[in-house]
């Protein structure tokens, strides 16, 4: 039983007007095959920092046969004015 008296009540909904299901920094994954029929499976995870890690595997096996990284970098900003 929660403080609200309702089992499983999400307290985050009380704390903020803009409630984000799963949290603001939740990683997101997409997966598929590099070719619809014969390609290798892959899974891309965009982490909470906005960077991508892509695992590639042999068909029918676990992933991580190969792993790519894609950093999405912010422009570095200096000031003189």
């Amino acid at each position: 039983m929660s403080l609200t008296g309702e089992p499983g009540f999400d307290l985050d909904k009380l704390r903020s007007i803009g409630h984000l299901k799963g949290g603001r920094t939740m990683s997101r994954s997409t997966s598929g095959r590099e070719h619809p029929e014969s390609g290798l499976p892959y899974k891309t995870t965009r982490d909470e920092l906005g960077n991508d890690v892509t695992e590639h595997g042999k068909a029918g096996s676990g992933l991580s046969e190969r792993q790519d990284v894609g950093i999405n970098a912010e422009t570095v900003r200096g000031e003189m004015g």
């Binding site: 792993q67 790519d68 200096g78 004015g81």
Partner: protein, 167 residues
């Protein structure tokens, strides 16, 4: 110590502005390199020219298959071992920005690397291995396995210096 932010190296910028002859770290020279380091590294952006933190050292470098110690030449750091094609431009009127741009994003294939937290641009002029720019990846150590290590910049703009603020 650890990576905490991206930044520019003012001592290297002063060197570039003050006409120090052949030792200048020209930002658009494609024989310069980029290299990676672990989170044991300290960026030390305020370091003096040639001092600890201002120059390339291998102590905390991340290298491996497909990414040699000393880093990758800017001339070969884009897809297909082509150049990042860096340029320096002036953009805008309010603000006025000095922009350090690339013609292509970084993409180095078939690498195996472990725990890269950030990346530097630095001059490969012998005895003057000055860093001018650090790129922080955000606080996670990134690893590749026989894969592509890529860095994508929004609008292909790596860095800007605001030379005249909004009016």
């Amino acid at each position: 110590m650890a990576w905490a932010n991206s930044g520019l190296y003012p001592a290297t910028i002063i060197n570039s502005l003050s006409g120090a002859g052949s030792n200048l770290a020209a930002w658009n020279t494609t024989t310069n390199n980029v290299f990676l380091t672990s989170n044991s590294d300290s960026t030390l952006y305020a370091a003096a020219l040639g001092g600890t933190g201002n120059i390339y050292v291998a102590t905390y470098e991340v290298s491996g298959t497909g990414w040699a110690a000393g880093g990758v030449a800017i001339s070969a750091a884009a897809a297909g071992a082509t150049s990042l094609a860096p340029t320096l431009t002036v953009t805008g009127t309010s603000p006025v920005l000095l922009s350090y741009n690339v013609g292509a994003n970084l993409s180095v294939a078939t690498t195996t690397l472990t725990g890269a937290y950030g990346m530097y641009f630095y001059s490969t002029t012998a005895s003057h291995l000055y860093k001018w720019l650090g790129i922080y990846f955000g606080g996670t150590g990134y690893s590749t396995v026989a894969g592509t290590f890529a860095v994508t910049w929004s609008g292909l703009v790596v860095a800007t210096i605001n030379c005249a603020a909004n009016t």
